[in-house]
Assembly symmetry: C2
DNA sequence: ATACATATTTAGGCTAACCTAATTCCATTT
DNA sequence: AAATGGAATTAGGTTAGCCTAAATATGTAT
C-alpha cells in the first residue's frame, strides 16, 4: 500500500522527530532525503491526505500513529537485516547500511517474522541500535554517550552515535567493538580526551570526538 | 543502472526465449508481464536504444549479450534467495516465489556472492531450477519430464515443470519431494497415468498431468 | 512597526512507465 | 491481386515523483 517514496519519507520523519522532539520542517526533511524542498511540500500534502502524517502548513509535519507504525516496521526490518548481514553473511558493520536500505523495503510479514526467529530475536543491530518488536515496541534503553561518564566509571560499549563509515572503520582499526569493557582512568580537561583501559588490558587515549560517539552502559 | 521495469522485462524475455527459441513477440511479452501491448512496444524501443535487447519492428525482440547477462544475474539472485528462504528460514516451497521476486532486485554483488557461499554454492533452487554461476553459466541439465520415461525406468525427481502453488501443494500433500526415487511399474495406455513405486516403499498412481510436470534424472 | 533574510509554498514543467483508441502492418485466404 | 483478421505500432493521455523559478509567509533585528 505504501510506495517506496512514502516509506523513505516516513523513515526520515521518524529519525528527525527522534532528534528534535517536535515538528519536522520541510527543509530538514528535504535535506535529509536529498530532495528539493518544493517537492517535499508537494509530497507531504499527499501523505497528509492519506493520514500517514499530520501536516501544518508552514510549520512542518509529524507522524500519525499509522505513519509511526509503518516507520517502525521499516526500521525493524532494516535492523534485522543488518544483524543477518553481519552475523550470518559475514559482512562488516560498515558495509551493511546500503544493502539494508534496499532490503528494508521487501514486503512480507512472514519473511520478517521468520528472519527475527532465525536470528534469535536480537534486541539490537550491529551498531547497537535497538530493534523494535513486531508491534513497534522497544526495550528500555539505558545507554548514554561515554563523555557523560566520570573518572573511575566502568562501562560496556553498547552502540555508536555516529554511523559514518569513517567512524566505524576507525573503531575497527583500533580494535574497539560493541561489548568491550572500558574503565575511565582519566579525563583530560584541556581537550576532553579520555584515558581508558579496554577489557582490563590495553590502555588507550580516546579523543573528544570518539568519546562523544561511543554509547555505553554503566556496569 | 537498470530500472526495476527493465529488469522485469529482461527476465520475462529470457524466460520466453527459453521456451520458444527464436524471437519474443510483443504480445507474448505483454501477456507475460500483465502489461498492455502498446506499452510494451514503447518500452522495448527504449531498451533497444540502450542495447539491452535487439528489436526488429513488427517481429519481436531478443536479448543482447549484455541483456542476457543481466537477466541471468536476476535469475541467479532469485534462485539463491529461494534456497535461503526454504533451507535457512524454513518457508515452504510454495511460499517463496513472491518474496524472491522482490529480493531478486536488491543490488549488491558482495551480498549475492556471500549469500552463495553461505548456502554452500547450491546448483539448484527448491524447485530444481538450476542456478547460474556469477558468470551466468549453468551446469549441464540432464533432466527430462517423467512422461518421457518407460516402464521399468528408475529415476530421481530433480525438479518441477509447473511452478503453480496448486501443483506444489499437491506434491507436498502427496509426500512427493525432490530427491525421491521413483520406479515406473506400469504406464496405463488409456489415460497415460503412471503406476510408480516411491523410495522403494509406497506405491502411487500419478495422472498424466502430474507425470508431465515432474522432472527426473534416470538413475 | 518595518524591513530583511530565510523558509515555505505555488505554479508550471519534466520523465518513467503505464493506459486507451486509432491506425498500420502482416500473413493468410479467397 | 484484394480482402480480412489479428498483431503491432502510433498518437495522445495519465500518474507518481521529482525539478526550477517565482511568490508568499515567518521570524528576527532594527
Amino acid at each position: 500500500m505504501t510506495s517506496l517514496a512514502e516509506e523513505n519519507y516516513l523513515k526520515a520523519i521518524y529519525k528527525l522527530q527522534e532528534k528534535q522532539a517536535d515538528m519536522v520542517t520541510t527543509s530538514a526533511l528535504a535535506e535529509s532525503l536529498g530532495i528539493n524542498a518544493a517537492s517535499v511540500t508537494d509530497f507531504i500534502k499527499k501523505m497528509a491526505v492519506k493520514k500517514l502524517i499530520r501536516y501544518e502548513k508552514s510549520k512542518g509535519v509529524k507522524l500519525s500513529d499509522q505513519g509511526r507504525q509503518i516507520a517502525l516496521k521499516i526500521i525493524r526490518k532494516h535492523r534485522l537485516w543488518e544483524v543477518w548481514l553481519v552475523n550470518n553473511l559475514g559482512l562488516k558493520w560498515d558495509e551493511v547500511h546500503e544493502i539494508a536500505e534496499q532490503l528494508e523495503h521487501v514486503n512480507s510479514d512472514e519473511l520478517i517474522e521468520q528472519l527475527d526467529k532465525h536470528l534469535g530475536y536480537p534486541k539490537a543491530d550491529p551498531h547497537g541500535d535497538l530493534i523494535p518488536d513486531a508491534k513497534g515496541r522497544f526495550i528500555k534503553n539505558t545507554s548514554k554517550p561515554l563523555n557523560d561518564c566520570c573518572k573511575g566509571d566502568k562501562v560496556i560499549i553498547t552502540g555508536v552515535a555516529d554511523h559514518s563509515n569513517s567512524f566505524l572503520q576507525y573503531l575497527t582499526k583500533s580494535n574497539i567493538k560493541l561489548g568491550d569493557e572500558l574503565q575511565v582512568e582519566a579525563i583530560e580537561e584541556f581537550d576532553k580526551s579520555f584515558q581508558v583501559k579496554i577489557n582490563r588490558k590495553e590502555r588507550k587515549l580516546l579523543s573528544k570526538e570518539v568519546v562523544k560517539n561511543l554509547l555505553v552502559n554503566i556496569v
